[in-house]
C-alpha cells in the first residue's frame, strides 16, 4: 500500500458515493444515541428499502453535527438539510417527501442558521459527514493523504517546521506551541520515544474530544502517525476516559482498519516507518488528564502528578522522551501538512491561529458542540451562535474553561477567545467548556460547586491543593449558610492566591480561578451573603430549612 493506492481507494469510494443522489447522515454520537439514534438509523434503512430508493439514497451512520440539544439529528445531502428531534415515526414521512418527491419536510427542519454561520469547522471537518466506522469514508475526503505526503516528500524536520509555521498551539488548555513541543521531543537523545494522545476529557460539561473521536477517529490516528514520523516515535497510546463507550468503539474499529490497510504497524505505506497504537482507559480521575499524571496512569499507577523538570519531552513514559498532546491538536496536524502552515494561519488571529472546539451548555437556547475561529468574542458565542438565554431570563455570567475556568460577567462579553485574552480576564481556554449562567444562579454557590469538584478530584499529593482547597470549601460553607464574616473574604483571597501559586500541577494552580474571578466580578454577591445574610438568586441558605 502506498500513496497511489490511497488515491485509488479515494477515487473508487468517491465514484461509489456519486452513484447516490441523496445521502442521509444519521448522527449516532453520544448526544443522540440515548435518544434513539440507532432506532432512527434502522428506520431510515427500512424506509429507504420500503420506498425502493436504496439505489439513489445512501443511509449512513455518522458522528456529531453539533446540535446536541435537538437530537437525534439527521443531515440530508445535497443541501445540508438538517432535521431535528427525528423519531422512528416521522422517518417514513421524511423519506417519502424529501427523497421520493424531492421536497424537504419543513416542519422537522432545524431552522437556526445563526448556529452555524459564525462557526468554522476545521477539526470537525468530517463530523456528521462521514461514517466513522468506515476508513474508506475518511480516505474519500482526503484522509491519510497528509501521512502519505509526509512519508513520500517530507523530512521529519520539514514536518516540524510546517507545524511550527502554522502557529498551532496545544488545545489541551495551556497553549504551548505544538511545533516547538515536537522539536523538543525530536531533539531528545534517549530512545525509544512515545506519543500519548490525551483524550481524558474529565471536565464536567465538556465533550469536544469525545465528539471528535466518535465522529472522526481516523483524524486522530493520522495526526499521531504524522507526529510519530516527525519525532521518531514508534509507539503511541491514546488515553481515553472509560466513560466514553462509543468513542472507544470507534477508535478500536479505526485502529483495526488502519492496521489492515497497513497504515499502522510495520513498513507503513511501503516505507521504513513503523508505528503501533494502543488504547489505554482512564478510570474516573480528572487529574489523570494532567501531563505528568497521564504518564503514570498509562504506566498503571496512581495518577499523581510529579514536579517538572524533568519535562516529559526528556523523561516521560518509562523515563523515555514522550510527546503528550491533546487529540484536538493532533487532529489539526493532517490539515496543516496537507495545506501548509501559511494556509492554517489564515484562520483565527495572527498570534493565535486556527479554531477551537467548545462545548456550549447551561442556560442557553442552542447548546451543543461548536467550533469557532480564535478571536471570536464571547458575545458572539453566547448570542449569535448560542441564541441567547431562554425563557426570558437575564444573562448573568459565562464560565469559560471548565471547573477551573473563570466566571465572566456581561461587561467582559467582548473578550476574545484566545489564550492570552482569556488569561487576562482570569479565565482559561482549558479543555473547552463554556457554561452560560442566568440570574437564577448564585455566583457564590457556583464558586463553591467548582471548589467542591476540584477537592474531589485533587490527587491529594500537595499541601495547597489537598489541605488548602478543603479549608477554602469550609469558608464557603460558612458563607452560604449565613455564618460568614467580613474577614472571610480576605482569608479566601490569601488562600486562593497561595493555592494558585504553590500547587504542584495545573489542577491546583487553576482550581482557585472560579473563586478569584467571582470575587473580582461578583464581589457584591459575597457581601450580600455575609452582611445581609441573603442570596438574591435564592440558592443558598435553603439547606437547613429544607431538611426540617
Amino acid at each position: 500500500m502506498n500513496l497511489s493506492d490511497i488515491q485509488k481507494i479515494a477515487e473508487e469510494e468517491n465514484e461509489f458515493q456519486r452513484a447516490y443522489k441523496y445521502r442521509i447522515n444519521v448522527c449516532c454520537s453520544s448526544g443522540c444515541v440515548p435518544f434513539g439514534a440507532f432506532k432512527v438509523l434502522k428506520a431510515f434503512d427500512d424506509a429507504v428499502k420500503e420506498f425502493g430508493v436504496e439505489k439513489i439514497c445512501k443511509v449512513a451512520r455518522t458522528g456529531c453535527v453539533g446540535t446536541c440539544s435537538v437530537g437525534p439529528a439527521v443531515l440530508v445531502d445535497p443541501g445540508e438539510h438538517l432535521y431535528q428531534c427525528v423519531t422512528p415515526e416521522n422517518v417514513r414521512e421524511i423519506v417519502q417527501s424529501h427523497i421520493v418527491s424531492g421536497v424537504p419536510v419543513k416542519k422537522y427542519l432545524y431552522n437556526n442558521g445563526g448556529y452555524f454561520r459564525k462557526q468554522q469547522r476545521l477539526v470537525l471537518r468530517n463530523a456528521g459527514k462521514i461514517d466513522p466506522t468506515r476508513i474508506q469514508d475518511y480516505i474519500s475526503v482526503g484522509g491519510y493523504f497528509a501521512l502519505a505526503k509526509c512519508l513520500s516528500t517530507m523530512t521529519p524536520q520539514g514536518v516540524i517546521q510546517e507545524i511550527t509555521s502554522s502557529g498551532l498551539r496545544g488545545r489541551g488548555g495551556a497553549g504551548f506551541p505544538v511545533g516547538q513541543k515536537w522539536g523538543l521531543v525530536a531533539r531528545a537523545h534517549n530512545t525509544p520515544k512515545y506519543i500519548v494522545a490525551n483524550l481524558d476529557e474529565g471536565d464536567p460539561g465538556v465533550f469536544a474530544n469525545r465528539t471528535l473521536a466518535e465522529a472522526d477517529p481516523h483524524a486522530i490516528i493520522e495526526g499521531m502517525l504524522i507526529a510519530g514520523y516527525a519525532i521518531d516515535a514508534q509507539k503511541g497510546y491514546i488515553y481515553i476516559r472509560s466513560e466514553y463507550p462509543l468513542a472507544i468503539e470507534a477508535l478500536q474499529k479505526a485502529i483495526v482498519q488502519a492496521k489492515s490497510m497497513n497504515l499502522l504497524g510495520d513498513n507503513i505505506l511501503g516505507t521504513q516507518y513503523k508505528f503501533d497504537l494502543e488504547l489505554r482507559f482512564g478510570a474516573g480521575a480528572f487529574v489523570a488528564g494532567e501531563e505528568t499524571a497521564i504518564l503514570v496512569s498509562v504506566e498503571g499507577r496512581r495518577a499523581q502528578p510529579r514536579p517538572r523538570p524533568p519535562y516529559p519531552a526528556n523523561q516521560g513514559l518509562w523515563n523515555k522522551p514522550t510527546l503528550i498532546q491533546n487529540v484536538e491538536s493532533l487532529a489539526n496536524a493532517p490539515l496543516i501538512v496537507l495545506n501548509g502552515g501559511t494556509w492554517f494561519k489564515s484562520f483565527g488571529l495572527p498570534n493565535c491561529t486556527g479554531t477551537k472546539c467548545f462545548s456550549l451548555t447551561g442556560e442557553i437556547n442552542n447548546p451543543g458542540l461548536i467550533e469557532v475561529p480564535m478571536g471570536i468574542t464571547l458575545r458572539e458565542i453566547v448570542y449569535d451562535i448560542g441564541g441567547g438565554i431562554p425563557n426570558g431570563r437575564k444573562f448573568k455570567a459565562v464560565l469559560v474553561g471548565g471547573p477551573s475556568g473563570g466566571c465572566l460577567p456581561e461587561s467582559l462579553l467582548e473578550a476574545q477567545i484566545d489564550y492570552d485574552s482569556l488569561k487576562n480576564v482570569g479565565a482559561i481556554m482549558g479543555s473547552g467548556g463554556i457554561v452560560v449562567l442566568n440570574e437564577d444562579s448564585c455566583m457564590v454557590d457556583t464558586a463553591r460547586y467548582f471548589t467542591d469538584f476540584c477537592i474531589e478530584e485533587s490527587c491529594g499529593k500537595c499541601t495547597p491543593c489537598r489541605a488548602g482547597l478543603a479549608r477554602v470549601k469550609e469558608i464557603f460553607d460558612k458563607i452560604t449558610t449565613g455564618k460568614g464574616e467580613l474577614n472571610d473574604i480576605g482569608v479566601l483571597e490569601n488562600a486562593s492566591e497561595y493555592i494558585n501559586n504553590a500547587s504542584l500541577c495545573g489542577l491546583g494552580q487553576t482550581a482557585p480561578n472560579p473563586i478569584l474571578t467571582t470575587l473580582r466580578y461578583f464581589r457584591e454577591e459575597y457581601l450580600e451573603h455575609i452582611v445581609d445574610k441573603q442570596c438574591k438568586a435564592g440558592v443558598c441558605f435553603k439547606n437547613e430549612s429544607a431538611e426540617e
Binding site: 496512581r302 514536579p307 523538570p309 477537592i455 495547597p464 489537598r466
Partner: protein, 236 residues
Amino acid sequence: MTTNSTITLKIDGVQISVPEGTTILKAAKNNGILIPTLCDLEGLTPYGGCRLCLVEVTGSPKLFPACTTPANSGMEVTTNSERLKNYRKMAIQMLMSERVHICAVCVANDHCELQALANQLGVDHVAFERNFTREPIDSSHGFLVIDRNRCILCTRCIRVCDKIEGVHTLDLKKRSKNTEVIMDLDEFWGDSCSCTGCRKCAKVCPVGAIYIEGEAITQTKNRDVAEFITARRNRK
C-alpha cells in the same frame, strides 16, 4: 545523574558551584543555606508534595520545589523572600488545620518537624478553622502504632518501606482529602503479612503519626537512617 562537570549559580546572592545534576536544595544546604522541608528526606526519592521548599527563580513567574529542581548554570535563586515566608506559613497552617495536631498531648512533642517549622517560621496561630478528624488509632501491631489523625501525608514511611526496606507494605489509598496511609489491602497493621517490623517508618516519620509503643520518641526517631543505608549500599 551526576557528571563531572560543575555548574555555577547564585542562591540568595551567594555564588555557588556544585556538580551538575545537584538539586537546588542540596546546593543550598552544602553552602549553609537551609531551606525548610517536610516531605523531603535524604536517601529517599524526592516527592515534591509538601511545598515548603518552594523557591523563586529569577526570570520565571513560577515557583520551584528546591527538592526536585536541578540547579542550572546561571540560575539566580531566592529562598527566603517575604512572599515565600508567607507561603510557608500558609502551608504550615493548612497542614495544622487539616487534622488533629495538638502538640501538648502528642507523642512527638518537641521532636516533631511540623511543630519545629511552625515555631521557626513564627506561625503563632492558624487562620483556618481546625478539623478534628477521628480515625481510629491502629495499635494492633506488636509495637508499631499509627495515628492517622496526625499524618501529614508526606509519604516518607511509604518511600522508606518501598525503597529501603523493599517490601512496600505501605501505600496510599483513595485520593484528595480522603487520602490515607494503608498497610497491604487496608488491613490492620497486626494483620499485615508483608510488614517485616523493621521500624524504619517510625524512624523517619516527621510527626507523631507512626511511633513505637513503650519506646521513648528520642530513641525511635532516626531520620538519617535512609541516608545511611543508601550510602552503605552505594559504597564501592
